[in-house]
């Protein structure tokens, strides 16, 4: 079995290798591209399943755990290690990511068949899947961070895949930047953790930073305001997780990311990217749950996780109510469901949060691929007001979409979403810190049922509103998708139903697998299912969900919409509130007015500083130097030079005068000689007389 762990690196390496090969593959080798991407991911899936099977039935406080670490960089007195880990958490994520990814890959061969950059698309998809698989199995925060950034890069490339659309290019940039703001937290946490513990390896036979001795040491230190070091680190990590998983207030990128091709949206929203944030918290859960010795109550970091999740769940669900874009509604529902996952992690621990992550991966991938089939069948139309009546025209899509919708809404008993949401609400109900998250969770469930009903009614019921009048033109009629698109839908729908049975209160197999220390599994026991407390809570949430469905039907289903421009039923009742929700609570505008403007202001300040202050200083120095030069020149010219010139001039003039006497005529000279002789004679005479 150890041998399998040693070969586990192949799981992410194979898709990454495919990405590398596809980067160099000529554009027209489409068959090769799809084959390579799907083949390598299928191999990864096989390996992942084998790894998962090997972790089953292990005993111990944490279940099965095998690690493989190796030195990467010798740093001062420490050596930085990288490595990977196989434990229940990574195993179950590996299987989920590779399976859902594979289904989406297959679907993409049909969906992207007409795109000229088919080859490039599969290269990016492989990169995305490989990076996510690396995140999942990383046993070192450095490796996790590296893969995490690679996920960000791949999402940037894929969201901006149709970069010729300005909205797509802008959305790609926004996604990258917003998640990078969050990454800053993770990065700081990484530096701090390294400084505090001297290692970034998670599990290392007792020396890892997530193992009891290190965690106890971190929980024992207080940094500021009574916050323990472990809590401070957790909050920084949470910032990173919130950025990647689109939690309020860093959720703004996720709905815009819809500009990418639909399979990309499915991949981002289900298997990769957003799941990474939730997974990160689950992976670092020991840090979040750490308490100083003797302390009781809920650790502050977990409280933050729970509240963040609960608020996001309701916040995004509210916005989803008023959206009209098919994919945007799903995007806000993702934000909302991610909130539930955080809530689950905060109130119930790893197993509860991860259960919802897994079920959500299936039904959200299903919903997105279904939405893709709708868009594909309706020639690119995404506005739910211009769709309608598709239940008759696209029966397979309708049936599978309905399964996904009911799973998301949490329709009782049959659908996985019900059980996972139930587990979260159950944990929230018994949470000692505050009842608030429980009520927020219930309210969110009501909203979820409501907006999903609204969407399904708009898309699949009533008359088709795409074209003026009857759809007469052949080829313009919405059509059912080919099997390449519908078979993945059916597979995912099966998963969306069956997965729930691994986590019912009667047989909490998943919980026991993920957290054997907390949940002792004894075998299926119906008594737990029908215990009074569980039943009461199930009845309550069932009532809430049914109320949401009924409300949705009452608002939109009674009188089917016929005119796409007619105002929304809610708009008639509450115009102001509805507009605010449709404008997404103006979070983007708020950022535009604050962060973006400050940023631009600082940049302009820097630019002016360079241009005028430092440039001005240089100009001033230049001016002074030139002035000094002029002064020197003036001194030279008028002082030194002039003196010299004057002296020369005088000399010259004296010479000229003297030269005037030298006329060359003999009489003149004789006259001079005579005069001289006379003068000499006179002088001698005068001297002789003396």
């Amino acid at each position: 079995m150890n041998d399998l762990v040693n070969q586990l690196w192949l799981v992410p390496a194979l898709p990454l290798l495919a990405a590398g090969v596809l980067a160099l593959t000529p554009r027209h080798r489409r068959g090769l591209a799809a084959g390579l991407a799907i083949g390598t991911l299928a191999l990864s899936l096989v390996l992942s399943v084998a790894a998962w099977v090997s972790t089953l039935g292990a005993t111990g406080p944490d279940g099965f755990r095998a690690v493989r670490n190796f030195p990467w960089l010798t740093w001062g007195d420490h050596t930085l290690h990288l490595g990977w880990v196989l434990d229940p958490l990574s195993a179950v994520m590996l299987v989920m990511v590779s399976f859902v990814g594979l289904v989406i890959f297959v679907y993409s061969t049909g969906y992207m068949a007409g795109d000229e950059n088919f080859t490039r698309f599969f290269g990016f998809l492989s990169l995305f899947a490989g990076a996510m698989l690396a995140v999942v199995m990383a046993n070192s925060l450095v490796l996790l961070f590296a893969a995490w950034e690679l996920v960000g890069l791949a999402s940037y490339l894929l969201i901006g895949f149709w970069f010729q659309k300005p909205a797509a290019a802008a959305a790609a940039r926004k996604a990258f930047l917003t998640t990078r703001v969050g990454d800053l937290g993770l990065f700081a946490a990484m530096l701090w953790l390294y400084d505090a513990t001297g290692t970034l390896v998670f599990f290392d036979g007792g020396r890892g930073c997530l193992e009891a001795p290190a965690v106890a040491a971190l929980a024992g230190q207080t940094v500021m305001g009574g916050l323990t070091l472990s809590a401070a680190l957790s909050l920084l990590v949470l910032l990173g997780a919130a950025g990647k998983s689109g939690q309020v207030p860093l959720h703004v990128w996720l709905p815009d990311a819809m500009e990418g091709p639909t399979p990309v949206s499915a991949l981002i929203h289900a298997a990769t990217m957003v799941a990474a944030g939730v997974f990160l918290v689950a992976r670092l859960f020991p840090l979040f749950a750490a308490q100083p010795e003797g302390a009781s109550g809920v650790p502050p970091a977990l409280q933050a996780v729970a509240w963040l999740g609960a608020v996001t769940a309701v916040f995004a669900a509210l916005i989803a109510v008023a959206q009209t874009d098919l994919k945007r509604i799903l995007a806000y529902s993702t934000v909302s469901q991610l909130g539930y996952m955080f809530l689950g992690l905060g109130v119930g621990g790893v197993a509860v949060g991860m259960f919802h992550l897994l079920t959500h991966a299936f039904f959200k991938a299903l919903l997105f691929l279904g939405a893709g089939a709708v868009i594909h069948g309706c020639h690119g139309e995404q506005d739910i007001r211009r769709l309608g009546g598709l239940g008759r025209l696209m029966p397979v899509t309708f049936a599978t979409y309905a399964v996904g919708m009911m799973a998301l809404a949490g329709v009782p008993l049959l659908f996985s979403g019900f059980w996972s949401k139930e587990a979260i609400l159950h944990a929230a109900h018994t949470w000692p810190a505050s009842p608030g998250p429980f009520y927020l969770g219930l309210f969110g469930a009501l909203l979820t049922a409501f907006y999903m009903t609204r969407q399904v009614v708009f898309v699949f019921f009533g008359p088709y509103r795409g074209e003026k009048g009857a759809p007469t033109q052949p080829g313009k009629v919405p059509h059912e998708s080919p099997p390449l698109l519908t078979v993945p839908l059916i597979l995912l729908a099966a998963g969306a139903i069956l997965l729930g049975f691994f986590g019912t209160p009667a047989w909490p197999g998943l919980q026991a697998y993920l957290e054997p220390a907390r949940v002792g599994l004894t075998g299926p026991d119906l008594a737990r299912l029908v215990s009074a407390e569980a039943l009461k809570l199930m009845a309550l949430s069932t009532a809430v969900v049914l109320a949401g469905l009924a409300l949705g039907w009452w608002c939109y289903g009674r009188r089917p919409l016929t005119d796409p421009t007619a105002p929304d039923a809610l708009e008639l009742a509450q115009p102001g509130l509805f507009r605010l929700l449709r404008e997404r609570l103006r979070v983007d505008e708020l950022y535009e007015a604050t962060v973006v403007r400050w940023h631009t202001g600082w940049a302009a300040l820097g630019d002016r500083l360079d241009r005028w202050v430092w440039g001005g200083l240089v100009l001033l120095i230049q001016g002074l130097t030139v002035g000094l030069a002029w002064l020197g020149r003036a001194l030279d010219e008028f002082g030194v030079n002039d003196g010299f010139d004057t002296a020369c001039e005088r000399l010259r003039r004296g010479g000229t005068r003297l030269a005037a006497t030298a006329t060359g005529r003999l009489p003149g000279y004789l006259r001079g000689a005579m005069a001289g002789a006379a003068a000499l004679g006179l002088l001698l005479l005068w001297g002789g007389c003396r």
Binding site: W72, W75, P166, R180, D607, D610
Partner: protein, 498 residues
């Protein structure tokens, strides 16, 4: 063998000058041969040095005996990686100058002379010799920009030359002070850097002289706020010259600040640490922010160089091995990445589109017409913003871990600079490559054919990319050399002596 890097470059300069005029167009092959030979000498000669070993003396003969100046070349763990970087950058620069047709012989002769000066600075272990080569490197730089440059080239060249000479004046002052100070101690070699680093010096003296060296050399490393020569100089320079300018010449300044500043005056660094930490962080943040609002593509990259060199200066003053080692690694890493970015902007884009205005480039659909350039820029941009897997990540991570140890606040503020880095690269990428003009204009005019990316450009880009990815995945290849070097530089400080 290592001194031959220097001799081959200078010989190459002469050989190119002596090359017959009739085959002037083929002078580039001669230059490439000499640059390659120099690079190979660097790598092969470096094998003689084991990581962590003592200083390896290459040549040591008296030069001006009356003053005690020696011709003293040596390597240790800190300058060897920089020698390798110079070899790589030199070869890549020639590949990206393959299309120089205007006086090619003079161009390549000056180019090789510059490379020779750079090798000289990195290998010198006599402070006067280092200073001499430092000046030698600036002169060809001036002519390359003034003669073969573009936008405001005379201005840019003059600004660069004046700034560097102003810095040199400070350095010279420091050099004199050090000389006089050392001469007071009989028996000591006055300007032997290795010996100087081991001597104790009066802390007050250190406090006064350290800033002379650090600021004087720092000018050429883009020390904020004395950085304004850098963007203008980069923009004015021809592609190969801007690659070298950002890639290796700025490193001369940083290297000088390390060798003659940090290594000789540990007490001076301690005294000035907060000031220079602040300036380095200001450079990182403001350089990045200014890059965010530039209209000229090359100015974006020029300011990004200021921002990234801030990491080098930050690492230099952290006074711990990790920060110092990270600074040297960042020198190498930025040399590769900046070279690549300038190659894309100057050679691949500007030589074809004849504009660098981002707003004009936005209408040219370059991602479709020059997919190789776009792909290279995406990768180089990712490397520049410090994405893991590229050399920049390891380097900036090391610097920040070091900075965290010294002053956590500096590391936190710098973190914001990383987001800014993502922002300006993303903006430039979107504007220059990923924007489509409005539909009506594309319908009416079919854009003229752009010359496809040539083989030398592809080779040059792949060379630099391979190096930055290789360093990103296996940083130990050079970090094993750098860290022992950094530790020995800091040894006197650690030992408690000053």
């Amino acid at each position: 063998m290592l001194p031959w890097t220097l001799y081959l470059s200078l010989l190459g300069a002469l050989a190119v000058l002596a090359w017959p005029r009739r085959w002037a167009g083929e002078a580039r092959w001669v230059a490439l041969a000499f640059a390659l030979a120099g690079g190979v000498c660097g790598v092969a000669g470096g094998q003689a040095y084991r990581p962590g070993a003592e200083l390896l003396t290459l040549v040591r003969v008296p030069w001006i005996p009356a003053l005690g100046v020696e011709y003293f070349l040596a390597v240790d763990g800190l300058n060897l990686p920089l020698v390798w970087l110079t070899g790589l950058a030199a070869v890549a620069g020639i590949l990206f100058s393959w299309n120089v047709t205007e006086h090619p012989r003079a161009f390549f002769a000056l180019y090789l002379a510059l490379i020779g000066g750079v090798y000289g600075v990195f290998l010198s272990f006599d402070l006067f010799l280092l200073f001499f080569f430092y000046e030698v490197a600036i002169i060809p730089k001036y002519f390359l920009i003034a003669r073969w440059g573009s936008t405001r080239r005379e201005y840019g060249a003059m600004k660069l030359a004046l700034y560097s000479f102003a810095g040199s004046a400070l350095v010279f002052l420091g050099l004199l002070a050090l000389y006089v100070n050392a001469a007071a101690d009989p028996g000591a070699a006055p300007l032997d850097l290795a010996a100087l680093a081991r001597q104790p010096r009066d802390p007050t003296f250190q406090r006064w002289v350290f800033p002379l060296f650090f600021v004087g050399f720092g000018v050429l490393a883009g020390l904020w706020p004395l950085h304004t020569w850098a963007p203008t100089g980069h923009v004015a320079a021809p592609t190969a010259a801007s690659m070298l300018l950002a890639g290796v010449v700025m490193k001369l300044g940083a290297y000088g600040a390390l060798r003659a500043g940090v290594a000789l005056f540990p007490a001076g660094v301690t005294a000035w640490q907060d000031v220079f930490l602040g300036l380095a962080v200001a450079g990182i943040l403001l350089g990045g922010l200014v890059a965010l609002v530039q209209k000229d593509f090359k100015f974006v990259i020029g300011y990004s160089s200021v921002s990234h060199m801030g990491f080098v200066l930050l690492g230099l003053v952290t006074l711990n091995p990790l920060g110092l080692g990270g600074a040297v690694l960042q020198m190498v890493s930025h040399g590769l990445i900046a070279g690549l970015l300038f190659a894309v902007v100057g050679r691949m884009v500007y030589d074809r589109a004849h504009t660098r205005e981002l707003d004009e480039l936005a209408g040219l659909r370059l991602a479709r017409r020059l997919p190789f350039a776009a792909g290279t820029f995406v990768l180089a941009g990712m490397a520049s913003m410090g994405l893991p897997g590229f050399s920049g990540f390891v380097a900036e991570l090391s610097v920040l871990v070091g900075a965290w140890e010294a002053r956590p606040a500096a590391a936190v503020i710098t973190g914001a600079g990383i987001v800014v880095g993502a922002a300006y690269i993303g903006r430039a990428l979107q504007k220059a490559f990923a924007t489509e003009p409005p539909a009506e204009t594309t319908a009416t005019e079919e854009p003229e054919k752009l010359e496809p990316i040539t083989l030398p450009e592809r080779l040059g880009a792949l060379l630099l990319l391979a190096a930055t990815v290789g360093l990103g995945l296996f940083p130990g290849v050079v970090m094993d050399y750098i860290l022992p070097g950094a530790r020995s530089v800091l040894a006197p400080l650690r030992a408690g002596g000053i």
